[in-house]
Amino acid sequence: MTVTGASRNAADRTLTITSAFDAPAVRIWNLWEDPRQLERWWGPPTYPATFVEHDVRPGGRSAYFMTGPQGDTPHGWWRTLAADPTRRLEFENGFADGSGEPDPAMPVTSIRVTIEEVPAAGTRMTIVVTFPSPEAMDKILSMGMEEGMTAAMGQIDGLL
């Protein structure tokens, strides 16, 4: 069992997910830091991600695109806010236009990852996803209402 807990807080606009792995913290970290490993899990199977730039040092930027079943390629970006290798990573994740430039009209989520080795229990990873602005939620809500929540979420799965 990978995911050990999840809680949704509508008032704080946060989603917290904890997971446990039978692997050392450094291996967990590598899956975030190494773009070749990251792109194997970041995008959903229908929209695999390709990272063309990836720098998880504070202030570092990442740029990626996903390739959809119809050949559409939605772009996304990360900006690393804080990083403590093997222990902590905080970044913003947003949508970009076709040239990879961040799209200011689209929602930005912030993601905080904490990795800790728990004696005799493997490694625990806690991910807190925050929607920083009511506008971001608005945007997503309106996308959902226009296109049907599930369909819209399928398309933007990897970008949130």
């Binding site: 990978t2 995911v3 999840a6 949704r8 509508a10 008032a11 606009r13 989603l15 997910i17 997971s19 792995f21 692997a23 450094v26 291996r27 967990i28 590598n30 899956l31 830091e33 190494d34 070749r36 490993q37 194997r40 899990w41 970041w42 959903p44 199977p45 040092r57 403590d84 290798p85 093997t86 991910i127 996803v129 009511p134 506008e135 939620m137 608005d138 997503i140 809500l141 959902g144 929540m149 599930t150 979420m153 799965d157 949130l160």
Partner: protein, 127 residues
């Protein structure tokens, strides 16, 4: 103070409304059944007017609906708005669960059997 600002966008209204514990409690109660404002006012250590303001904030966010019955104002939780917020967070959760399943599969792959990375074979050292 009940009304701190006057948010105007739907999601803004929604989260502002849900940020207060009394308001969340009113939503929970009125989802279970219709209550009059005076009923609700008796449940909280605050004035009728304060409770009425809380209800007004919830009504603007469409979390509750209000109707008149004689001299009474009856409040009922609006299931749709709440369901929408939860649905959204549920979708995010489902999407992250999928991502973590893939994460676990990549992790379970023996790193020695992976093709050698072409450009950065040395792990970046900690600053």
């Amino acid at each position: 103070m009940v009304v701190e600002q006057s948010p105007s966008r739907p999601a803004d209204l929604l989260f502002h409304a849900l940020a207060d514990p009394t308001r969340r409690d009113i939503v929970t109660r009125t989802l279970r059944g219709e209550h009059s404002v005076s009923d609700l006012a008796r449940s909280y250590p605050m004035s009728f007017a304060a409770v009425q303001k809380h209800v007004a904030v919830l009504e603007r966010a469409e979390l509750v609906r209000k109707r008149r019955r004689g001299r009474e104002q009856l409040v009922r939780g609006n299931v749709d708005a709440i369901r929408r917020t939860h649905l959204l967070l549920e979708e995010f959760e489902a999407s992250w669960r999928g991502r973590l399943d893939r994460f676990a599969r990549v992790l379970a792959d023996d790193p020695d059997r992976r093709p050698e990375p072409t450009d950065d074979p040395e792990p970046r050292s900690a600053p």
